[in-house]
Symmetry: D2
Subunit: 375 residues, 4 copies
């Protein structure tokens, strides 16, 4: 199988997620980074490119044009910029015939997400969205368990994503990550767009149910902050299941605590990012079970997502790498449907969630419908 050549936009010095994308992309030897427009600052971009031994560019549109024109040029672009550039970069790359794999959220707004969906459709190229948590083996196992009906029909979903790092006004203390993530022009939404979308996507991914209505309390706790930093949402899924989604960046002391519980008629499952290689099943009758990643008794999709034997923990980078590997496989096979990489439809749904919840909370509308159609 040939190696997929990747270019990156964003991810230069000081970035958090850029290096993760690079490590994840290359981990399995299926993808090689060959080029990057890592920073708007030409010197910084060149320095990063040199450090990683790839072609550096000062401007991302120039890079896309150049790479698309080379025989040994990048075949796909990883978009790891702040949100406001996601649409533009992705569209240009798609139009140049390159595949796109993008950090979440898909775009800054719902309207942009729908524009991007149209661009994806027109391009005939693949678009992947790195909802990292769907790359964990035990998240994939959880989905299989629900899909097989092992828990009976889904009745309740509780998902909580607690971070504490924005408990202080770090955007005014010189923290770059905090600056753009709390800036309406760059990020679009705050906590709900940054991590709420992970929780939303995870809940839908595992439960196999789609949110149809919601009732939201999206607020700003830290004085002076320009975007939301705490959100709590009541959910109603197709089929009638109830749900609760909690996402917060002011849960002081929390690190990166994403936890999902799905309850069916005869049992419930719990997955927590604090112990990502475990999945717990509690049943109405019989002992609780803990499933361990890389075990022979797991489903095919879960087994395929582990590299090393059970008891040898794989983490965030490996989960990310699973998305990249699936993305490369999908490209190689020319079809996305066999691989669980979230696509632009997930992107549109997430942005619909964000905008619906923010508006409903602001207006105290109570229950409102979620329209997650692509167009």
């Amino acid at each position: 199988m040939s190696v997929l050549r990747l270019a990156m936009v964003g991810g230069g010095p000081g970035a958090f997620i850029g290096p993760v994308h690079r490590m994840a992309a290359e981990l399995d030897g299926r993808i090689r980074l060959v080029a990057g427009a890592f920073s708007r600052d030409p010197d910084k971009s060149a320095a990063a490119a040199q450090a990683w031994g790839v072609r550096g560019y000062a401007d991302w549109s120039e890079m896309i044009a150049a790479e698309a024109g080379r025989e040994d040029g990048a075949q796909a672009v990883a978009v790891v910029t702040p949100n406001h550039l996601h649409l533009a970069v992705s569209r240009v790359a798609l139009q140049a015939g390159l595949h796109v794999i993008s950090d979440k959220p898909a775009t800054r707004t719902l309207a942009e997400a729908r524009e991007l969906a149209a661009a994806v459709a027109a391009s005939g190229r693949l678009y992947g969205l790195t909802y990292t948590y769907t790359g964990y083996p035990m998240v994939r196992e959880a989905r299989e368990i629900v899909r097989r009906g092992d828990l009976g029909s889904v009745r309740k979903v509780v998902v909580e994503y607690a971070q504490g790092w924005l408990s202080r006004p770090r955007e005014r203390e010189g923290a770059k990550q905090a600056e753009w993530r709390t800036d309406p022009a760059l990020a679009g939404a705050g906590c709900i767009g940054d991590i709420g979308v992970h929780a939303f996507n995870l809940a839908e991914f595992v439960s196999g149910r789609r949110v149809e209505r919601l009732c939201a309390d999206v607020g700003t706790v830290v004085p002076g902050r320009r975007l939301d930093d705490d959100c709590n949402v009541l959910l109603r899924f197709g089929g009638g299941a109830r749900g609760v989604l909690i996402a917060s960046q002011i849960s002081a002391g929390a690190r990166n605590g994403l936890k999902l519980q799905v309850y069916g008629e005869s049992g419930g499952l719990t997955w927590s990012h604090e112990r990502p290689s475990e999945l717990t099943i509690d049943r109405l009758e019989g002992p609780s079970q803990t499933l361990h990643a890389a075990s022979v008794y797991l489903s095919g999709p879960a087994q395929a997502a582990s590299r090393i034997p059970t008891g040898h923990p794989e983490g965030f980078i490996e989960a990310f790498a699973n998305l990249y590997r699936d993305f490369a496989d999908a490209i190689a096979e020319g079809r996305a449907d066999a691989h669980p990489v979230p696509d632009i439809e997930e992107g549109v749904r997430s942005m619909a969630f964000v905008e619906t919840a923010v508006a409903a909370s602001r207006d105290e509308s109570g229950w409102v419908a979620l329209d997650g159609r692509i167009a």
Copy 2:
């Protein structure tokens, strides 16, 4: 210190909570059960009385009259009947000059709770409400930590109480506990009245903040059930803190999973009934801490709630016993304020929570105010 003589109403054969009350009351040698109207069935009541070596009565009002008239008669009555009798029994006992300690909820309805509050005030007797979880040492430590300001001002409270035992229609399968707890005439409310009130009370007890507004989704999941079995509530506390309360009896596989998280400006605490002797503090800066019951470094109220050295687990009965011991102490000292036994005010607030949430959910009212005034 003399031993307090206790009579019990309810708690006969097949009851869950009656035996717990008896064990808890007598654990510390401060209280002795001397009489009981354990069942409406005279034979059953007599049998229970004989087994426990106490005076048995066929009728609770007769018992109260008789005991109040004996020099060695009961000084207090434990009310452990289904909810619909709480008001009547408590009122008669108070009027007879006896103290009352009652299982939760205080009454079947809010109106009844306010009637009872008036009866308590008129009687000059003590009224205690067994919100069991407030009896745990680490719950009391949690309250002290918040009260001392160790976490800064409270910003967010998440409380979840998950049970799964009503996932099936057990009220139609001959389960006595399920029958009365899902019967509007006997219970008043369903899940929210049975365990939602525990969660509500715990959240207020530890946070020291009072719920002022709420937005509720209270529903019935099991077809044919006559009362709610799942509730999810967004909360707003005095001082502005946000909150989420989840209580469910259809969380299949859950046993009795009560968990509280309180986040302040500089840290958060977590207490879970699955590990009741621990309290975890996560901080914005510095390592996480786990505090263990019966440790010398705990606050006075927490230390006073343990009987045996750290590392020797105490559980539900001991937590319950702490409420009884505090109740006995309050009677002995003639003052309730030094002891943390929940009183009728907590009872009224809880019933206000129940009725407000049920009505708001039924009417899809969105955010509504909680009026928890006693009268």
Copy 3:
């Protein structure tokens, strides 16, 4: 069923285990404390007796004689003194026709234990030894699992009992509990006799295998201490299983960490006193299981050891109470074999373990045989 009348020797003010015995004995309403020689100090004994509403005595032999002679006198004696009195008190009580339930270890020395075994045999009375941990429901479940062969033949047993409270020379800092437990004349052995015997008994109780050989490292870590405070022992069980026993009172920071692992051919079980209501089974094939106390799927002996529904934690006092309840049942039925209370044979075996290990370690004998015969 009539109530068993109990007298206590020891357990006065400042004692740790005396109050536990009283609470445990009375918890289920099957036993009532009626008399006590709580302290050698007549005033202290009288004060304790008054506080608990029982007959107080200044001298234990006088008490035994008096109670044995009363129609309403004690039928059994609880021995909760320091070890050096265990033999004398137990023997006198047995000879007076009273049953005996004793705190561990059975006696101060192996020779004494064998003397006591003879006294028990001669008396025709019941003798129970409170190896508390055998009273936990999940320990009993563990034994049933092994007994049923669910794990295949036992291959390895690891038991660790870590305490840290003697990390400092507390016997020279005025701590009464430390004083007698580190005094050769009162305690006989140190750590190995105080908690090593619990670990030893637990390993044999659950594995159903008896230790036949051992290789021991029993030492004193804290300078100036007169007895051992740390012991590590390699074990060989009948049937060939290997084992490791670790017991320490200088494991600084450890509270009361008793943990048992038993491995068979096809799986292993883990029980830890830190989460006493859980039992974990890991299998060669298939998910791990966690069994929860008071669940309907447990074995009869495990179910019988819980009082309240699953998810409502019971702890140390309740485990202790299970031993007392079984002891009362055995007396009522006139036979001990249906009830799992450890008896004098366990007492002799434990003392054989203590003396064999201490001697072998002192002499650096390497592997030595354990002769646990009663006589």
Copy 4:
């Protein structure tokens, strides 16, 4: 900083640890695999080489000669063969002027390890030994805590490494990994050489103390197996600390459970591979602490071993990668002492442990001295 060019010996199709070495080596972009003699089978080696885009060789000695002679040739060799080739490959590579990084154990026998030590010394090249667990951030933090004296003087060390995968005779069921690891000619020792050395090294690495004496029970549980599969060892460290080492491959149900406890005068620490990003400190006084990887409050060495923010788990591959990164740094700087990669001295000590324990157990020698001198 320039990229280090690496060649690999072993690690072809079916290997477990070879792919881990490759992923780990390349993770941080500091090292690039350029060549490999992946298999004795020329076709297999060529296939692996092609898949990874590197130069393939049929014979490792040929590869070393060729690479050493190229200007763009490998600068270091990763040795990931079965144990019996470690000495030969390492020596030839060193003599060719290449650095060596080897999987553990260093060699098949102690005598070989001492030969290798001489070869390392003579070569002037760097030799690194991948004791993976020393690469975990929280293991490095643990070492710093002990080194700083935060726990006082070390008194006790307990290390347990439990695997269950050899509970059945898998070497006779066609499992390649089991075949060579239970073959005396290829592996040298069994469980003690395969995972006992990890436990031994970890105990010394964190405690900063060296084992001076031991008393061992090393045995074979599965009938017909040719090497040991279970070992239990009592330890005595320099400075007097006691220890216990347990390593087993017949702990049925265990996955890869390595756990270390180090107790000092005033507290103890626990690290478990099941939750590798946490380190727990229990203290004689004050609450327990849990330290989390990638936190700002950690020591320098621990912080340097994380790539991504706290709460984002890194696992086995990343721990391995830390060793590779440190190895590359040491080469770049021309000095090993600033970097915590285990070296040949650790290799010799571990082999001394293996041979001393196996012999002492076989002969039932009781306590024996450990001579871990290099020559």
